[in-house]
Amino acid sequence: MSAVPLLKVNDVSKFYGSRTGCRNVSFELWPGEVLAIVGESGSGKTTLLSCLSTRLMPSSGIVEYHMRDGQYRDLARMGEAERRFLMRTDWGFVHQNPADGLRMTVSAGANVGERLMAVGDRHYGNIRATAADWLRRVEIEEDRIDDQPRAFSGGMRQRLQIARNLVTSPRLVFMDEPTGGLDVSVQARLLDLVRGLVHDLGLSAIIVTHDLAVARLLSHRMMVMKDGLVIEQGLTDRVLDDPREPYTQLLVSSILQV
């Protein structure tokens, strides 16, 4: 890990009229670190993720990102074109529903290759070889490269979405309930895969989940949200093994022990 944080979040709030999305959230994310944001639905975790990933503009507060050139940039002050470029090169966003993050009517190969072509790759053979390599890394058979994601199972679609996001070697990946709609055995494989990729690539990731098991497996650090506020944060093992806030204790004790 290098000596400076990748993302600096300072006092971010988002209000929807008089309703609160999230309030006074501050934290830093370090290179190679995986942060989980947990909480029940309606606790503001997706709002917070949207604010961080510039899909929503925070009502107040500053989100700064450590660019590749070493400068910190306030995301809200970046131009649209620059922000979009950042989003398709240095960042990834994995949606809960793969259909939101994939082009369902073009082939798997083109889905993975799109980002490469968007940043100027113009060699068909290379694009295809990279796409095939990424399919292999996410455990999709190479001969499915010309199939459309419509013909894929839910788990395969989610893995394809991950490949599509990682192909440009981003440094930061946002994931919104990545295992949401999958059955338990597929979830386990996907988590294992994501953990491996995050480790191999040295990615930083922010994962929103309501599933504490996902947080336990993937994240180094976690934040617990309730009613738009971060009520507890710390190392994942510490928070899960020794929760301090009554709400976190409730959350942890409500998991079935198997």
Partner: protein, 149 residues
């Protein structure tokens, strides 16, 4: 799309073409990049004529009525067809000249002559073809016909 210069999707379309057909199968509405900046659809011109747009002396006007849009390419403007390094842009090649007027290097239409597989290739630009015939040019089919008469 234009303001943000997000044209990656155009190449996705060409990629799909190659993946499905082994070559770029788009023959009209073939995307071009104008002056190294704007990607444009020159529909309905066939891609055969795409190279003629490059550095053309003419002011070229395009309209898309249903989309209430009109656009223009100024004279002497760089117009380059999008492609891949290993699948470069190519126009159609015809083995034979026009069957009626014998013109070469023009776009030819295939015309089916009978139900026994007979066919001919003739100029797509019929006015140009007639003009040439009036000036005494004759393709092989016309020559055969005259010989028969």
């Amino acid at each position: 799309m234009h303001a943000l210069e997000e044209y990656g999707l155009m190449h996705v379309k060409l990629y799909e073409d190659i993946a499905r057909n082994g070559h770029i199968a788009t023959t009209y509405a073939y995307p071009v990049k104008v002056e190294g900046r704007y990607v444009m659809d020159p529909s309905p011109t066939p891609k055969f004529d795409n190279p003629k747009m490059h550095m053309s002396e003419a002011l070229q006007l395009f309209g898309a009525g249903r989309e209430k849009r009109i656009y223009a390419v100024p004279p002497y403007t760089e117009v380059v067809s999008l492609d891949f390094e290993d699948h470069p842009f190519e126009i159609q090649h015809f083995d034979k000249p026009c069957a009626l007027c014998g013109a070469e290097h023009v776009y030819l239409d295939e015309v089916v002559l009978d139900d026994k597989g007979g066919r001919m290739f003739v100029c797509s630009d019929t006015d140009h073809c007639e003009d040439r015939r009036e000036h005494g040019h004759a393709g092989h089919l016309l020559a055969q016909q005259e010989a028969a008469e």
